[in-house]
Amino acid sequence: MSAVTIIDSGLSNIDSVARALEYCGADVVITRDPETVRTAGRLLLPGVGAFPVAMERLNALGLSDAIRDAVVRAERPILGICLGMQLLADTGHENETTLGLGLIKGDVRRLEKATPEERIPHMGWNTVEDQGGCPLLQDVPSGSDFYFVHSYYFAAVEEAVLATTPSYGGVPAIVGQGQVFGAQFHPEKSQTNGFQLLKNFLKA
């Protein structure tokens, strides 16, 4: 069974991610202990909340350094979900400018409408388009819908954008570089397609 360590900063809903991973056959550990994160085989960083508040928590708990140690030094796979994906960036501009984990180049900016009909937050099911061979989208039918709920997006370097969603001029839906992955949408709430994505991450 694949083991996943979920990083619990105390701000997010851990339960539904944990339940979804268990449903996908994972052995789940939930922790806020830096040592446990440092030695984890596979990490998941969930996230609901605002960028500065979440970074402050991760830093205060000593988790930011632990995540960087696990991911950069030990090359462990990590999947950030929603805000957890955005936290992988160098900087975020939600409310104020804050340093992120710096695992994927780029910054987090507020969504801007590309058409007058678009509303912010981006809320609901939207298509995810593979930019070519995204490992997390293996066995997911192309053009499948996933559940998004966000007001900011990760303007990541082009080579790290593995999939996009067509709204707001086309923003990153999945980012990835090496073993570092992020999904802007919520796979744990995206039913069949979301579970397939989590299963793919368990194989990464």
Binding site: N13, A20, P121, V149, S151, E188, K189
Partner: protein
């Protein structure tokens, strides 16, 4: 393009689910857990869960119950009822709500909207507005399950709520609630025009054509409904198939 959403609303009172007419005449409709399990299987877009005993009775939200339900809920869930503080919002999110809906307390303390948005992000703060058409033709926001007058205009209140950080407006017409006569399209259109956040239309759906009407002419991003799923043979799945055939962008 983001899909329109079809959202069943579950109203919880005491020990089980209920549904009423015009926020009154409650009838029991079954167990929440059972409903969630069925909606999981049917690939429902999103779920709204209101504990309607919490606010009028000044009860605290039943977090344990939400925790149990959220564990079984593999679709996004908005939870409301009895939320009074930023800490309550945090607790509700931590037990598994994806979005938290505030209504009466947001009117009493609009700072709660700003506080919730600052700490958890606008995307999870839903402001629910229950509106009524008065006899003089004016519109008014009522709170505490339609029992308390506020003197607020729903359009102005929606604007203010969005400016304070609400990420979504869940707009219910008390007049239409449970009547099967259709959504208050004019009310929905006025609110949807006034704000740039998504507006969920609620109250009055009797047929799928009512959903098409408020999506097409009311500017709604989503349609919530309860009675038609409880008391008729109509289902969220069929609603989506109907709306897709009508040309809407739907997740099937």
């Amino acid at each position: 393009m983001v899909k329109i959403r079809v959202m069943p609303t579950l109203l919880h009172k005491g020990m089980g689910l209920v549904k009423g007419i015009g926020f009154d005449s409650w009838r029991r409709t079954g167990s929440a857990l059972q409903a969630i399990k069925v909606y999981n299987m049917r690939g429902v877009d999103e779920l709204v869960f209101f504990d309607i005993s919490a606010s009028p009775d000044d009860e605290a939200p039943d977090y344990e119950q939400i925790d149990d339900l959220a564990d079984e809920c593999f679709m996004p869930m908005t939870v409301g009822g009895g939320i009074r503080t930023v800490e309550d919002i945090g607790k509700m999110l931590s037990v598994g709500a994806d979005k938290v809906s505030i209504n009466s307390q947001a009117v009493l303390d609009p700072g709660l909207i700003a506080g919730g948005a600052k700490n958890f992000g606008s995307q999870c703060i839903v402001v629910a507005i229950d509106a009524i058409r008065r006899e003089d033709g004016g519109l008014e926001v009522l709170t505490h399950g339609g029992k308390r007058s506020t003197g607020l205009d729903p359009i102005e209140w929606a604007k203010r709520a969005a400016a304070l950080g609400a990420g979504e407006i869940l707009l219910t017409s008390i007049d239409r609630d449970g009547t099967f006569e259709g959504y208050d399209v004019a009310l929905t259109a006025a609110v949807a025009e006034a704000v740039s956040v998504p507006v969920v239309a609620s109250g009055g759906a009797g047929h799928y054509a009512h959903m098409a009407d408020v999506l097409r002419n009311g500017g709604a991003a989503a349609v919530a409904a309860a009675s038609i799923y409880h008391f008729t043979e109509q289902t969220p799945q069929e609603a989506k198939a109907y709306l897709a055939a009508e040309g809407f962008n739907v997740r099937l």
